[in-house]
Every structure is written in structure tokens, then in C-alpha cells.
């Protein structure tokens, strides 16, 4: 009997193995095309643009679709306040600005060859299809190559001895597929110059998160990709940090119904009354008139083991060793907290966000805007919102604080030339005046030659790393004095607020009554008669 069973088992195993060998293991069932079978892709590609040309033979409109997007233009005209934004125009308090640093910054551009202001934005073949559609993980665009991947073995950084292999473009091209957490994350997890630096709610831990870290992207559960929510239409990806949807008053999107609202909001799936179960459901749904979903459902940011930068002091940059070498200081966990190129950092993990009223209006301090050094930090972006405007909800924010160079004579922020292998780049020469002169020239802005440092703040609305419902922020954490929403104005929060004069009168009355009856009782006892 046993032997027969074993034989049967072996037979089954062999049959299974044979079946597995027959199946086209590389092609997922969610596509009808195996790109490795396309003749156009069965060739040696010398460069990225050559691959794009091959893509465009079938996907004829793809490049012109990409051309219309922020991902391509790095420019965005805010229709509300007419500010010209986008990565090429804004200034932040991380790596500060793009112009004069193109070849490095554009390693995160969806194109090839943007190395200076003369980049041809009309070129179809300069669109980089692989950055977003790679499924191999072997496609890496390196800083300094202006958006190109390495076509030959390259030492990164130069002199480090670490070799990045030449990209096998044919292999990558034959295995293209849908976007993934990895492809989006290759740039968006590393914004600000490193893993988790910028957002706080986005870092490499989201490449394969567990349920506790992100209930939707849970790799062994719902396994959402970025595009599940950030649903693209004609290559235009939904969701914006320049014109965010702070308060989505629409219901859940339904097939067959034309839904023009942002598909990346919580409400676009969960609707306006998301709490269904339990006795508290109705009262929790009541909260949706004041709270963004994120406020309760993202209790902390940087929860995946990757620290986020909380502040960055550029004013201490440039300290060198006695031998004139740049310094790198690490904390006890081996994370860099001082870098001669960049200055001092404060890192944070499991950070409780700050909370503000937010209505989606964002106003940037741009290059020409006057700034004033003083007690209040200069806002890199100023958020609109208040309790009474009917458009705001209370949102969690990562508030990133920094000190960065500015022109104290012209009273403007500046755009230093940081990255580059030349005579003025700050990261090579450690001289602010020259670096800023070069950068401001590239930006076409006046520079007095004087450099000082100014405190700045930038707010990042928090929306990722949604925790399972059991980990949502507890009632007490806001319904209490000194709680999370202690500084929120314009609403009455039970447990936090009270009318002080009422409490005074009330306790005096109750205390007076008590004292009165006790006194009365005492007299009765003393009299011992009744």
C-alpha cells in the first residue's frame, strides 16, 4: 500500500513539474501579450531611446500621451492661483532645486537626456517607457546620466569601487509590464535624495509591506500597486500635491457612471459613510465632516523601519576633515546625520504627524518671491484651510523644517548648483557663493553675491501607510487635553474643550450643595435630636 501511494505521489509530482515547464511562467495572466515574442524587441539595443522607438511601433500614441503629463514636463500651472509649479520651478528645503543640477535630478525623469535647459520636450524617443514599465528590477537610472541607465559598467559613485553593471536593455524591454510599487517607488520612495527622506509615508518598506504597515498594499493580502488608487488615464496619473483633493464630497466610483472626481481619494472607493460595523459606526461616520480619513487611519509615519528626515540644516554644511575631506557622521543605528555636502539632519521613525485644517489650496514661495528672515520660518508651501470654510478637513502633515541658503540682499530664496563635476558645484567645491551664482544664472534670477541662511518649513500631506482599522488612532488621543488635535482651532472637541466659566459655576454649585448638606447633617448630628 505504502509503495503504491509513494508511486502515485511521485507520478503526481512529475506530472505537476511537466505542467509547470509547459506553462509560460514569465507571462502573468493579466496580459494578452508576451513582449519577449515581439520581433521588434528581439534585438540588441544600444540606448534607451532605441528601445522607445521599438515600443512606439505598436504603442503609437504612448509618447505623446506622456508628453502631456507632469511626469514629463516637470511643470504645472496651478489653475487656482496661476503659480507655475512643477519640479523644474519649485524650491524646497531638501535638495532645494533642479535647474543647474539637471543631469542628476533627471535620473528620476521619465525621459532620456535632460542634462540642461535645452532638452527637447517634443522628442518622442526621449520618453523613457522602461522607468515605469520594467518588471525585472534590473533597470536603474543613475544620477549624473541625465535620465539614462548605464550602457556600460559604471562605478557609482566614482572612486567607490562599486560597479553598476551595464543595463541589458533587450531583456528589460522583453519583460515590460504594468507599473508596480517598485517602479513608482524607484523615484517616489527616494525623493529628497534617499530612502524615505522626503515624504515620511513613502519609503522602500512599501515595496513589499505587511498588513500592519499598509492595509491596501499588503503584499500577501490586497497587494495594491500605486496605480490601483493613482489610476492613470492616457498615461496621466491621478493625484496631485500641487492641487490635492482635501475634501472629496463625492461618493464611491461606480462602473458605468461617469466619475470625474479624483480616483485616488479614500472616498472614491469607500464613499462618504465608510464605517459599517459595530455600535460606533454611526458616530465614526459623523467624524467625516471634520476629519480626513488619514487623520485616524495613519497613526504614525515612517513605520516600516526606514527613517524619514524631519529637519535639514544646510547652514552647517561644508565642515571638512583636517585633511580637507568631506565628513560623514552616523548615529548609533548607522544612519547619516551629518554630511559635509548637506549639513545636519534630524531623522525620525514612527513619527506622529502634525494636524492642520487643509482645503487643498497650496501656495508656494517661488524664486522671485520676497522672504524675510525672522522668528517665523519662511513657508516653502502655505496650506489653505480653516474650520469654517466648508472645504477643509483636519489633515495629518509631515512638517519638514530646515535652514537653507538665501540671498539676504535681494531677499529671495536661491537655487544652488549642488551636483556636478565642475568648478562651482557645492558638493565638489564646498563654496556657497560660486555654487549659488551658477545656480541662479541657470534659473535666470538675480543674485547679490551674499549668502545667509533662513529657516523654512514645508508641509507634506500624509496619505500612505494606512494602518489596519484596529490600529487606527484611539478616541482618547484627540478627545483629551494635550492630545493630537490640541492646536486645532474652530471646533468644539468633547474631552478637549469645555466652557471654563460653566465648569467653574457648575463645580461651585455642586460643591456648594455638598457642603450645604454636609453642614446641615453635621448640625443634626451635633444636636443629636433627629
Amino acid at each position: 500500500m505504502k509503495i503504491r501511494h509513494l508511486a502515485l505521489l511521485a507520478g503526481l509530482l512529475m506530472a505537476g513539474a511537466a505542467q509547470a515547464a509547459d506553462a509560460p511562467a514569465t507571462v502573468k495572466l493579466n496580459t494578452t501579450a508576451d513582449h519577449s515574442k515581439f520581433k521588434e524587441l528581439q534585438q540588441e539595443f544600444a540606448s534607451g531611446p532605441e528601445v522607445t522607438k521599438a515600443c512606439l511601433t505598436c504603442h503609437t500614441e504612448a509618447a505623446s500621451q506622456v508628453h502631456r503629463t507632469k511626469h514629463w514636463k516637470w511643470e504645472f500651472l496651478n489653475p487656482e492661483n496661476k503659480q507655475l509649479l512643477g519640479k523644474r520651478n519649485v524650491i524646497n528645503n531638501f535638495c532645494i532645486s533642479v535647474p543647474s543640477n539637471y543631469a542628476f535630478c533627471t535620473s528620476c525623469h521619465v525621459g532620456y537626456g535632460w542634462k540642461d535647459a535645452n532638452f527637447d520636450f517634443t522628442s518622442q524617443e526621449n520618453v523613457d517607457c522602461l522607468a515605469c514599465h520594467d518588471t525585472t528590477g534590473a533597470y536603474k537610472k543613475l544620477p549624473g546620466l541625465a535620465g539614462h541607465p548605464p550602457y556600460k559598467d559604471t562605478e557609482v559613485p566614482p572612486g567607490s569601487g562599486k560597479i553598476v553593471k551595464a543595463t541589458d536593455l533587450a531583456k528589460v524591454a522583453q519583460k515590460v509590464g504594468k507599473t508596480s510599487r517598485d517602479t513608482c517607488g524607484a523615484c517616489h520612495f527616494f525623493g529628497g535624495g534617499g530612502d524615505g527622506v522626503k515624504h515620511g509615508d513613502m519609503d522602500s518598506s512599501l515595496a513589499s509591506p505587511d498588513k500592519e504597515l499598509d492595509v491596501h498594499m499588503d503584499a500577501t493580502g490586497l497587494d495594491f500597486t500605486c496605480s490601483t488608487c493613482h489610476k492613470a488615464s492616457s498615461h496621466d496619473v491621478a493625484g496631485s500635491r500641487y492641487t490635492p483633493t482635501a475634501r472629496d464630497k463625492d461618493g464611491a466610483h461606480v462602473r458605468g457612471k461617469e466619475d470625474l472626481s479624483n480616483p485616488a481619494t479614500c472616498q472614491s472607493c469607500h464613499g462618504q459613510a465608510p464605517h459599517k460595523d459595530g455600535r460606533l459606526a454611526a458616530k465614526l461616520n459623523d467624524h467625516t465632516d471634520t476629519l480626513a480619513c488619514q487623520t485616524c487611519h495613519i497613526p504614525k509615519i515612517a513605520r516600516g523601519g526606514v527613517a524619514t528626515k524631519m529637519s535639514w540644516d544646510w547652514s552647517t554644511a561644508g565642515r571638512l576633515s583636517p585633511e580637507g575631506k568631506p565628513l560623514l557622521v552616523k548615529d548609533d543605528k548607522g544612519r547619516v546625520i551629518y554630511d559635509s555636502k548637506k549639513g545636519d539632519f534630524v531623522l525620525g521613525e514612527n513619527v506622529v504627524p502634525e494636524y492642520v485644517w487643509f482645503n487643498g489650496d497650496v501656495t508656494y514661495t517661488l524664486l522671485g518671491d520676497k522672504v524675510q528672515k525672522g522668528d517665523t520660518p519662511t513657508r516653502i508651501n502655505t496650506l489653505g484651510g480653516s474650520a469654517g470654510d466648508g472645504r477643509s478637513l483636519i489633515w495629518p502633515m509631515k512638517v519638514f523644517r530646515g535652514s537653507q541658503p538665501y540671498d539676504p540682499v535681494n531677499k529671495t530664496l536661491v537655487t544652488p548648483h549642488t551636483a556636478g563635476n565642475d568648478d562651482t558645484a557645492y558638493w565638489k567645491n564646498f563654496g556657497w557663493e560660486k555654487a549659488i551664482a551658477t545656480g541662479m544664472k541657470a534659473s535666470g534670477a538675480p543674485f547679490s553675491g551674499k549668502v545667509d541662511f533662513i529657516n523654512t518649513e514645508m508641509s507634506w500631506p500624509i496619505t500612505h501607510m494606512v494602518a489596519p482599522k484596529g490600529d487606527a488612532v484611539r478616541c482618547n488621543e484627540c478627545h483629551a487635553r494635550g492630545g493630537r488635535l490640541d492646536k486645532i482651532e474652530g471646533i468644539y472637541i468633547p474631552g478637549r474643550d469645555s466652557h471654563h466659566w460653566l465648569s467653574l459655576i457648575g463645580w461651585l454649585a455642586a460643591g456648594g450643595t455638598l457642603a450645604g448638606v454636609l453642614l446641615h447633617g453635621l448640625v443634626r448630628i451635633v444636636r443629636r435630636k433627629n
Binding site: P494, D497, A510, T513, L514, N530
Partner: protein
Amino acid sequence: MERIYIFTRFERFWHWTQAFLIIAMLLTGFEIHGTYRIFGFKQAHMLHTTAAWALITLWLFAIFWHFTTGEWRQYIPSFKNIDLVIRHYAWGIFQGEPHPFKVTRARKHNPLQAFAYLGVKLLINPLIWISGLAYLYYNELAAAGLALNLGTIALLHTAAAFMMLCFLIAHVYLITTGHTVTAHLKAMLTGWEEADAGHGKQTG
């Protein structure tokens, strides 16, 4: 010793259930108000809401009972001999004088008592009820076009709660002022009031 059956079974059930619920609601309510932390906000909120619905149900039954039995007449205010009652609590009680009011089946409460209970029923209870329901349903009210400020709702509700607290303190004390310390308590437990027939006289 005269014994009068003044509190029926329903009345006693109503009284003690209400007492329990009101004490529970004061306890949880002042936690929601932020005065202290015992249960945690979530538990306090849930207990408070549950107790509120229980109390509302009880009150509906009690109101029905009052009108069907005619017992509502017990609370018709009267100033007659109220001066004697006030004098008793301010003076006579310390001299060992008997209570000037004689309890009867038709008139269970002395005039001061009747006023106090009427105040609870016509002022404190409606204020607590209406403000409490508005507290629970202010979103629905806003959706229906009646946008109320939550702070104002909370103000009224808390004010009513303080009044109830004062009433409770005074009430608990005053039940010790029968002809013995526990006479009134016994009456509310058993229904039977033992009146000291030799001293009291009808005043109500």
C-alpha cells in the same frame, strides 16, 4: 405607627433604575467632558450612549405610567404651608421637631419636594434630553438644515448635568431626614412609608 403603601412596584423599579442610570451617566458624562479619566473616552462614550437610550426608554414608560395612573398630579405645585417646610429644614429639624408634612397616598411629596421634582421633570430632564439627542445627532440635524454649534449643544448639556448633579447630592441627603435616618430609603425599597402618626399633620 402608621404604615402607608406609597410607592408601587413600578415606581420603585423606575426610581432605582433611573438612579443607577443617572449616576452612570454622570460618571461617564463628566469623563466625556474631560474632567477625569476612568473608562477611556471610547468606553465612556459607549456606556453613556447606551445608558441614555435605556433612560429614554424608561422615561417613556414612566411618562405613560404617570398619565394613565393620574400620578402626575403629585407634582402640581403648591405654596400652601411651604413656609412651614422651609422652617422645618432650617430650624425645626435641629430641635427634633417632627416634619410638618404628613405623607398620604394622594399627596406623597411635601410642597418643597414637589417643586424640586417638578423642576427636574420640566427643566432638567427636557434640557438633558433635547441637548443630549442634539449631541448625538448634530450631523443629521446639520444635514437637515439645522446647523447647531456643537459647543453650544455641549454647553447646554453640561449645564443640565451640573443641575442634575446638584439635585442628586441634595436628594441623597434629604432622604436621611425622615423620622429615622433610613425611613425614606426603606419606603423607596419596600413601598411602605412608616409615618410617625403622633406628630405629623397634613400640610400639603
